[in-house]
């Protein structure tokens, strides 16, 4: 065996992970992904181990519900054959490893900077001298947008190469949001500091990332969550999905200049986020999820309130959707715009809602269920066309699905555990590796931690779903009119801060 098989949220001693030669490591991991479409890479990263770099690759088996972990130790001066040459989904991971440690690859197509992290290997690479792809031509022109965009959104630079109104190529430069979170997680010592960092990775996915962090921490400490903790997390994740999907429907309507849809969906988000505030005091539920405790339990009264909120939300949401999805002027903007084919989506390792809109059945709630998801028997909603329509329609359906789940969940609210019975969190075990996968509203969030000989965090790796899906956006706009870029962009609604960390 050249790999170790573990479950989602399981901790294993790092020493148990087989260390193989680089060649075997490459053949093993690329082979797993190439041979089986039901497997994909959830994380591939390196960290310093004395003078060398330890590479760890995590491949998730979606059908067999396990994660395959293997490792390899390499010298920094070696030139390696790239995984990317065998399978494109490793492209960004290898660029990241190259950026952080200066590892050289002989056959990687283009080792472009990923996020200009503060501790990057080559400091001469700066935001200002990003090597954009360009085409020498009299007929083509370039359009540069950003980092500051027209609206109130996060920064990133988009460089289009256009033939008249048509986009030939889009390249996206990120890194403006880099705050050094992965380093800060190693430096901060108090648990509530770490939890605060986790919920600030991407503010719109505060629940998703803080649940992933909580799972990692609890697994490292050997803490078993009680039913009420799992309940809180499942409810919060589904509420977050409803709130953000509804807001995204509003944003898409704004971009097709449909004022009524924009206003109605925009206002429909408010009762959901206000419910979050009633529950935990914050409209984005920051401060709700903490490792090892059910900080603010979900009570019977809250269940009654949520039921009322959903009952008044649903008819308005249904009515507005019926109108939007029957309006020829809206449909003509959605259909066949911004297509990502199923082949492209799987090749680049797209995840989450965006992958499902292109016909890739990839959903952690089904493949690696945690919290109360096993009981919900989740069936992912999958669309085939991969266009803006599919990505908008999937949101509508997922909102209805989440409402159904919430109603099932709140019919049976577990009693909060007796506080005298709660075991305090121990400190993390020494020399462990944990991997946690959570299906946030955007898709698969992956947190991976490695502890040192005293149980201190030695490495922490965060992967937001946007990490892969930015490439899906770049592919989707090819051969579309540049005026359709905003609606393609909104149909993905990717995170800049989650990518830049």
């Amino acid at each position: 065996m050249h790999y170790l098989t573990i479950k989602n949220n399981q901790s294993v001693p790092v020493s148990d992970i087989p260390e193989v030669s680089y060649n075997a490591f490459l053949v093993l991991n690329t082979g797993m992904v190439v041979e089986s479409p039901g497997r994909h890479c959830v994380n591939y990263f390196g960290y310093r181990d004395d003078e060398k770099i330890k590479l760890i690759c995590c491949i998730a088996g979606d059908l067999d519900h396990v994660i395959y972990i293997s490792s390899c130790l390499v010298d920094t001066h070696m030139e390696l054959a790239s995984f990317t040459a065998k399978n494109l989904c490793f492209e960004k991971f290898e660029r990241e490893i190259h950026e952080n440690f200066g590892l050289k690859y002989s056959d990687h197509p283009w080792l472009k900077p990923v996020r200009y992290s503060h501790d990057r290997f080559d400091k001469s690479q700066t935001m200002a001298n990003y090597p954009f792809y360009s085409i020498d031509s009299e007929e083509l022109h370039e359009v540069g947008v950003g980092p500051i965009h027209a609206g109130v959104i996060e920064p990133g630079h988009f460089r289009f190469i256009c033939n008249g109104e048509q986009i030939l190529h889009l390249e996206i430069q990120l890194g403006y949001q880099h705050r050094g979170i992965e380093k800060l997680i190693l430096e901060k010592k108090q648990l509530n500091q770490l939890a605060t960092l986790a919920e600030n990775i991407a503010g719109d996915t505060a629940i998703g990332h803080s649940v992933a962090f909580a799972h990692v921490w609890e697994s490292l400490c050997g803490f078993e969550t009680s039913r009420d903790i799992d309940f809180t997390r499942t409810v919060a994740l589904e509420l977050e999905r409803i709130a953000i999907h509804t807001g995204d429907l509003s944003a898409v309507c704004t971009d097709i200049a449909y004022q009524l849809g924009s206003s109605v969906f925009g206002r429909l988000r408010t009762p959901i986020v206000n419910f979050m505030q009633e529950w935990c005091g914050n409209r984005l539920s920051k401060g709700l999820i903490r490792p090892g405790q059910n900080k603010i339990p979900f009570t019977q009264d809250l269940a009654k309130r949520l039921s009322e909120v959903l009952d008044t939300f649903e008819p308005d949401f249904t009515e507005m959707n019926k109108e939007l999805f029957n309006m020829p002027s809206a449909l003509s903007r959605f259909e066949r715009t911004g297509v990502v084919s199923v082949e492209d989506a799987s090749a680049i390792g797209a995840v989450g809602m965006a992958a499902r809109a292109s016909g890739v059945t990839r959903d952690i709630r089904l493949s690696h269920p945690h919290s109360l998801y096993p009981e919900l028997n989740h069936e992912p909603i999958v669309k085939r066309h991969g266009d803006v329509y599919s990505r908008v329609a999937i949101r509508r359906k997922e909102v209805f699905q989440s409402m159904k789940y919430l109603r099932t969940l709140i019919a049976n609210v577990p009693e909060p555990s007796d506080s005298t019975n709660i075991k305090a969190l121990k400190s993390p075990g020494a020399g462990l590796l944990t991997i946690s996968l959570v299906e946030g509203w955007r898709g698969e969030i992956c947190h991976c931690a490695i502890t040192g000989s005293n149980g201190e965090l030695k490495h922490y790796k965060i992967k937001d779903p946007s990490f892969h899906n930015w490439m899906a956006l770049a592919l989707s706009v090819r051969n579309n009119e540049i005026s359709d870029f905003p609606i393609c962009n909104k149909s993905f609604n990717l995170s800049y801060s989650g990518h830049d960390l």
Partner: protein, 250 residues
């Protein structure tokens, strides 16, 4: 057409008639009140993930606070958060709430530049710059413009170009990678202009304070006109803060 009208009819009136007196639902972490009760102050201080609590006397710096409510849960007899969302101020020191303080937090009219009322009192166009913001304050700034909060009714709008703007709104701790773009944006905004900081991250760096990947030197160069605390700031905090700054008080 008729379907659209019927949706309009079903939606009814959604706007909040008076944003200065509206109530926020449920528990809300607004202006804290600190009692004079004696507690283990060292434990209290160390509880805070962002060092927002000082002792002797006990005080909370809302420019650093992430409003997680941990301190109020552990020491309910000492600290409580009221639902008062009017916590925007124009002086950094006014963000520090000391024990025994019960008074409301307001913009100090003496410190507001004289020309602001006459120039921006009826129309204020702002350029927002996210410099490492995690999309939560950006999200709430957008929410301030929705049909419920409707910031636009006061003539306050976000514009696409700094050249059309009367000031900039900064969110996020200001990353090293975004520092240059922020400077360019500020320089492109015509004088006179204001700077507004929204959210804990922008005001103090928040949990990112001390990270080598952030560069806050921009803030040392210019006066700040308004601090809007929160994690993220609530739309009512944002709207009332901007109104307080630009409107003449009766």
């Amino acid at each position: 057409m008729f379907n659209n009208l019927s949706i309009l009819y079903h939606q009814g009136k959604q706007f909040i008639p008076d944003v200065t007196t509206a109530k926020v639902p449920g528990i809300f972490h607004g202006r804290p009140v600190i009692s004079m009760v004696k507690v283990d102050e060292i434990e209290l201080k160390e509880l805070c993930p962002v060092n927002a609590i000082s002792v002797n006397p006990v005080s909370i710096d809302l420019g650093k606070c992430t409003f997680c409510g941990e301190c109020a849960m552990r020491f309910p007899e000492k600290i409580s958060f009221t639902t008062d969302y009017k916590i925007s101020v124009n002086e950094r020191k006014s963000l520090i709430v000391k024990e025994g303080d019960e008074k409301q937090m307001t913009v100090n009219p003496d410190k507001v530049r004289k020309e602001l009322h006459s120039l921006f009192g009826r129309s204020l166009k702002l350029r927002q710059v996210s410099a490492g913001g995690d999309n939560s304050c950006e999200w709430e700034l957008n929410a301030s413009n929705n049909v419920q909060f409707d910031l636009g009714r006061f003539g306050i709008e976000f514009v696409a170009s700094p050249r059309h703007a009367d000031g900039i709104v900064i969110t996020g701790p200001i990353t090293e990678n975004m520092a240059e773009a922020l400077q360019i944006c500020y320089d492109a905004t015509p004088d006179p202009k204001i700077i507004v900081l929204v959210g804990t991250d922008a005001i103090s760096g928040g949990i990112f304070d001390g990270s080598p990947a952030i560069d806050r030197s921009f803030l040392d160069k210019y006066p700040i006109d308004l601090y809007i605390p929160g994690n993220p700031a609530h739309p009512l905090t944002i709207i009332n803060g901007l109104l307080d700054l630009t409107r003449k008080r009766k």
